[in-house]
Amino acid sequence: MSATTTTQPISAAQVRTLASVLDEIVPPSDDARFPGAGALGLAAYVEQTMAHTPDLHQMTMQGLAALDRLVQAKGAESFTALCRADRLAMLHALTTTEPAFLPTLTFHTYVGYYQHERVLEALHLDPRPPYPKGFEMPPSDLTTLLAPVRRRAER
C-alpha cells in the first residue's frame, strides 16, 4: 500500500456518504430510543480509527469510491439522496465487488456504537466505563443454594 493511499484525506462528501452507510449498518430503532450509527456521529469515530488503521483506511476509501461509481451509473445526485431500497441494493451489490468493505466497516461501527453513552443508556446501562464505580452485587443465599450439593456429599 502506498503512503499516498494511506494518508489521502476523506472528503466532506465522502464523510456524508459514510454517515449514510453507517445508518444502514445500524439503523435507528422504530421507537427512536436507539439512534442510527450515522446520526450518532460515528463517521467521525471511523475517520479517527482510519487514521491509525491503514487497512481500514484503504478498504473504506475503496468501498466509498465503488459506491460513488454505482451512484453515478444510476445518475443520482449522491448516495444520501437515494431512497432506502436503492441504498440497500447498492450496499448488497458491494458485497461481491468489495467483499471486505462491509464486514470491516461493520466491525468498527459496532465497536464505536456499543461504547457510546447514548447507546449504553438505551441498553439501560450507566453511560460510563466499569471503573472506578463498578457494580453493586448483593451476596447470594449460599446456604440454600448449596444445600443439594452438601446433601449429596453426605450420602
Partner: protein, 534 residues
C-alpha cells in the same frame, strides 16, 4: 559490561518468580531478579475508558504476537490449533489472568497409580498443602470453605458474588444433581493487606485498575523488595552461561538501552513460564550442553500441555446482569473430574462459569456467529442477545506427549535478535473425546438452567494461557529435567520453578499450584543451603 555478582539470580518476575523472591528474602542472601518487561501502571489499564473492551484486542491482547509491545517476544504458534498467550511485565501473566485459583486435587499427583497413564509426581498434595495455604494468605484467596471436592483448605476471604447469572446457572447444576461450588478466586473481596476490595467491575482480563485482583506486582513483589530483593526491569536474558565446573555461572542479558551485559550468580533460577523457560534453555548452548542447558535427557521443550478449552454459551430469555462481577470467576463444577472409562477417555475436566458478554463483545460475538447482522434486523437480533448470554469454559486435562513441544524457530527473533520459540501441538484423541463430552455436558447444564439455545467452540483457539510440562520434574535424570525440588539434574545450581516443571496438567487452572511449588522449592533451597550443590 559485567555487573557485581549476586547469590541468587531469578529470571522472570511473574507468578512464580515473585513467590520465590519473597520466600528467599528472609535468608539475607543477595537476590536479584531480571525481568524483560516493566512495572505496569494500573491507572492506565483500559477499565477506566469506554473503549476498554476493544483494547483487549489491541495493546492488552492476550497474544504477544498481537500486542507486539517492545518487551514481548514473538511466538510462532502457526503449527498449533491453540495460540500461546501470556503477558511480559512485573507480575508476568498474572497482569491479565482471570485469577481463578483452584488447587490441584490429591488425585492429580498420582495419575499413573490411579489410571495407568503419564507419570506420578515425585511429591503429593499433602506435601504442597502448607504452601497452598501460605500462597492463599499472600495472594488473598476468596472462597467458601467446605467444598466436598477438596480436603479442607485456607481461604482468607469470602467468595466472589454469584450474581443473578451465577444463581441461574447454579440452578441448572442443582436440577441435574451435579457438583458445583463458588470459585476459589485470587481476588480481594474485602479490603486486604493494603489492597482495595473488588468492585465487581468486570474487566479482570485487561488488568485490575482497582488493585483487587492478585497480580504479583501488588502482592509478593512490594514485600520482597521491602525485604531487600532487587528487581531490575527491561532486562532481557539471552542465555545462561556455564563455568568450567559445569555449573551455571550467570547470564548474558540486554538492558533497557539494548546494551549487552553479564551478570554473575551463585544460583540461577528460571521463572519464565512454560514457553519462555525452554526457549532460554535451548538458547543456552555450549560445548558441554550442545542441545541446550540441562537438556541431557532431551526433555527440554517436550511434553507441552495447554489445557484444551471448550467454551459453551447459552442464550436466556431474561436479562442476567452478566456484565457485573469478575469476568472469569463465578462457580466451578468438578462433576466430571476423575476417570470414568465408560466415557471413552481418561481423566476429566472442570466446568468454570463465566459472566455474560459486555456490549461491544456481544455485537462482535453475534457478528462472528452470524447472529447479529447489519441492517434492518440488527436491532431485534442484538436485543435478543445482549445481557441474555451466560457462558462457561471447560478446562480439560491435557496429557504429556513428547511431540507437543517448544523448539526454537529457525528465523523468528525478538527485538534483541534472540531466537524466538516455536510451538508444535496436536490435540490428542483423548482430548478430542473429552472436549466432545464436555460440550455435551455444558449444553445439558445450560438447558437445565433455562437456556433456550446453546453454542459451543472447542478447542477454543485463543486459550493457550496455561503453559506446562516443558522441563518436567522427576526422579530419573533420563526422563526429566529437574528433580523433586526443582533443581536441574544436569546443573546443580540451576533451578526451575514455573509451570514447565509440571509432570501432568490436572483439569484446573495452574497458577496456585505453580506458586505453591515455587514456595516449596524456596523452602527446600533454604533447608539445603549448606549443601545445595551436592
Amino acid at each position: 559490561m559485567a555487573d557485581a555478582p549476586v547469590d541468587v539470580l531469578i529470571i522472570g518476575a511473574g507468578a512464580s518468580g515473585a513467590a520465590l523472591a519473597w520466600s528467599l528474602a528472609d535468608t539475607r542472601m543477595n537476590i536479584l531478579c531480571l525481568e524483560q518487561g516493566d512495572w505496569m501502571d494500573p491507572e492506565k489499564y483500559p477499565a477506566a475508558g469506554r473503549d476498554w473492551e476493544i483494547r483487549g484486542f489491541g495493546d492488552f491482547s492476550v497474544s504477544p504476537n498481537t500486542r507486539g509491545r517492545p518487551e514481548d517476544y514473538p511466538v510462532n504458534d502457526s503449527d498449533s490449533p491453540i495460540a500461546a498467550s501470556m503477558f511480559n511485565a512485573v507480575g508476568g501473566s498474572t497482569i491479565l489472568y482471570a485469577a481463578h485459583f483452584p488447587r490441584f486435587r490429591p488425585s492429580d499427583f498420582k495419575v499413573k497409580t490411579l489410571d495407568g497413564i503419564a507419570d506420578d509426581w515425585p511429591l503429593d498434595y499433602e506435601r504442597l498443602a502448607p504452601y497452598y495455604d501460605e500462597n492463599a494468605r499472600m495472594m488473598g484467596v476468596a472462597g467458601l470453605a467446605g467444598d466436598p471436592a477438596y480436603p479442607p483448605k485456607a481461604l482468607p476471604l469470602p467468595p466472589v458474588p454469584l450474581g443473578k447469572l451465577g444463581e441461574t446457572l447454579a440452578g441448572g447444576f442443582n436440577k441435574l444433581g451435579w457438583h458445583w461450588w463458588p470459585s476459589d478466586s485470587a481476588i480481594a473481596t474485602q479490603d486486604y493487606e493494603g489492597r482495595a476490595a473488588c468492585i465487581n467491575a468486570g474487566p479482570c482480563l485487561t488488568g485490575c485498575a482497582q488493585g483487587a485482583k492478585a497480580s504479583t506486582d501488588i502482592t509478593y513483589w512490594p514485600v520482597a523488595i521491602r525485604r531487600g530483593v532487587t528487581l531490575k526491569t527491561r532486562c532481557r536474558v539471552r542465555e545462561i552461561t556455564v563455568g568450567p565446573d559445569g555449573l551455571a555461572d550467570g547470564v548474558v542479558y540486554y538492558d533497557a538501552d539494548g546494551a549487552e551485559r553479564k551478570q554473575r550468580a551463585e544460583v540461577v533460577v528460571l521463572a519464565c513460564n512454560g514457553i519462555g523457560t525452554p526457549r532460554l534453555l535451548l538458547n543456552s548452548r555450549s560445548k558441554r550442553f550442545p542441545e541446550g542447558l540441562a537438556n541431557r535427557s532431551g526433555m527440554v521443550g517436550q511434553n507441552l500441555m495447554f489445557h484444551p478449552y471448550a467454551m459453551v454459551t447459552g442464550l436466556f430469555e431474561d436479562r442476567l446482569e452478566g456484565y457485573k462481577g469478575p469476568m472469569g470467576c463465578c462457580l466451578m463444577s468438578q462433576e466430571f473430574y476423575e476417570t470414568d472409562r465408560t466415557r471413552g477417555f481418561v481423566r476429566g475436566y472442570s466446568i468454570e462459569t463465566l459472566r455474560g458478554l459486555p456490549p461491544v463483545s456481544t455485537a462482535l460475538w453475534g457478528m462472528t456467529q452470524g447472529r447479529i447482522p447489519w441492517g434492518a434486523e440488527h436491532r431485534r437480533a442484538y436485543d435478543a442477545i445482549f445481557d441474555r448470554t451466560a457462558g462457561m469454559v471447560i478446562i480439560c486435562e491435557d496429557l504429556p506427549e513428547g511431540h507437543n513441544r517448544v523448539t526454537l524457530d529457525p528465523e523468528l527473533v525478538d527485538t534483541d535478535g534472540i531466537p524466538a520459540p516455536k510451538v508444535t501441538y496436536r490435540l490428542s484423541e483423548n482430548s478430542t473425546r473429552m472436549l466432545a463430552h464436555a460440550v455435551a455436558r455444558g449444553k445439558e447444564v445450560l438447558e437445565a438452567a433455562g437456556a433456550t439455545e446453546t453454542f459451543a467452540e472447542a478447542p477454543l483457539p485463543i486459550a493457550g494461557w496455561h503453559l506446562m510440562g516443558t522441563a518436567r520434574m522427576g526422579t530419573d535424570p533420563a526422563t526429566s529435567v529437574v528433580n523433586e525440588w526443582g533443581r536441574a539434574h544436569d546443573v546443580k545450581n540451576l533451578f526451575i520453578i514455573d509451570g514447565s516443571i509440571f509432570v501432568t496438567a490436572a483439569g484446573v487452572n495452574p497458577t496456585n499450584t505453580i506458586q505453591a511449588l515455587a514456595l516449596y522449592i524456596g523452602d527446600m533451597i533454604k533447608k539445603n543451603l549448606a549443601n545445595l550443590f551436592d
